[in-house]
Each structure stands twice: as structure tokens, then as C-alpha cells.
């Protein structure tokens, strides 16, 4: 499912709204989630999961072409942990 398919499904479930509202709603939600992570603020969606940042410590890497050692700075990367309902629903039935 792509973003445009998601927008179409949301619009179909809300016939009283104009399609542009579903599109703006999806954009607003994803922009807010992006902005939250950019600010280092976690996201917690009960039943879906949580997004947070993980720190990758600085390390000495190598330029794969020249074999030369290079310093790689530490950085933060986004991380998702699925919530219980999502985990249970995607897993095979017991």
C-alpha cells in the first residue's frame, strides 16, 4: 500500500469529506511525526507502536575504494517498535 492508496482508502471511509481533506490529513499526520522525531520527541501510538531515536556511536570506518581510515561521527537514527496489537495481528494465527 502506498501513500496515495492510503489516502484513497481514508477518503472512501469518509464520504462526507472531500478527497483533498484525506490527502491533507495524511500529510499533516506524517509531517507531525517527522517533526517530532527531528525534535528528538518520541511518538507513542497505542496498539500500533512507538517511534524513537537510537544513538549510533562514532566509529572509525574505511573508505571502501581506497581502504583509507575515516572517522564517522555518532548519529541518531529513527527506530520503530511494533505495539502488541500490531504484533499479534501480523503474526500467524496460533
Amino acid at each position: 500500500m502506498t501513500k496515495s492508496e492510503l489516502i484513497a482508502r481514508l477518503a472512501a471511509r469518509h464520504p462526507h469529506l472531500v478527497a483533498a481533506d484525506a490527502e491533507l490529513a495524511v500529510k499533516t499526520i506524517l509531517d507531525a511525526m517527522t517533526q517530532s522525531l527531528v525534535e528528538g520527541k518520541r511518538i507513542e501510538i497505542r496498539g500500533f507502536g512507538s517511534f524513537s531515536l537510537n544513538f549510533r556511536p562514532p566509529r572509525v570506518g574505511r573508505n571502501p575504494k581506497t581502504g583509507e581510515k575515516v572517522h564517522v561521527d555518532g548519529k541518531y537514527v529513527p527506530h520503530f517498535k511494533a505495539g502488541k496489537e500490531l504484533r499479534d495481528r501480523v503474526d500467524y494465527g496460533e
Binding site: 481533506d21 506524517l30 517527522t34 517511534f51 541518531y76 520503530f80
Partner: protein, 101 residues
């Protein structure tokens, strides 16, 4: 300091002009549609944000950490999230030079 469904609903009320009930429902349905797609084995690609994918993990040996007893961890399907290049770059840039959580 956490973004939650309530905060997202407030944004839909303010920025999209949905009424409070519609805004709350739209947030609910947004995540429900993603869950439904994943439940049906369909990956979800939200360009600019990231992709949710499914991975089938085979059974592997494990232990009950309390008793030390050996018991297999059953085969399962799990969700993984891969942030888009854009999201990764924005997060990285915003935290350049910071190290503490």
C-alpha cells in the same frame, strides 16, 4: 514529551478543519488502515517517511530466561520499519553535535 494520537487529532482539527470527532476518528482510521494492510501481508510505503515491511522469521532455539529451560521460539511474522533517506537525513542533521539522549 511524546507525540500521541490526541495531539495528532488536535492538529487535524486546527490544520485540516475537521471537527473534533472527525479528527479523532481520522487518526484512528489512519493507523487502522496501515495495520490492516500489514495484517493482510501487504507492505506499506509512505514516501518521504518510511516503509513498513514484513519479515518471516524461522523457528530458532531459545531459553526461558527465568528457568533456563530450553524451548523453541516459534516461527513468526514481524513488522520492520525502514525510515526514508529523507527522514534519516533530517533527524541526523537536527542532532549534529549532540550526543546525550
Amino acid at each position: 514529551m511524546t507525540l500521541t494520537k490526541a495531539e495528532l487529532a488536535t492538529l487535524l482539527f486546527e490544520k485540516v478543519g475537521l471537527n473534533k470527532r472527525e479528527a479523532k476518528e481520522m487518526v484512528e482510521v489512519f493507523f487502522e488502515e496501515v495495520r490492516t494492510a500489514l495484517e493482510q501481508g501487504d507492505s506499506v510505503k509512505l514516501s518521504g517517511f518510511g516503509n513498513f515491511q514484513l519479515r518471516d522469521k524461522p523457528q530458532r532455539p531459545g531459553r526461558n530466561p527465568k528457568t533456563g529451560e530450553e524451548m523453541p521460539i516459534t516461527a513468526r511474522r514481524v513488522v520492520t520499519f525502514h525510515a526514508s533517506q529523507k527522514l534519516k537525513a533530517m533527524v541526523e542533521e537536527a542532532h549534529v553535535g549532540t550526543r546525550s539522549e
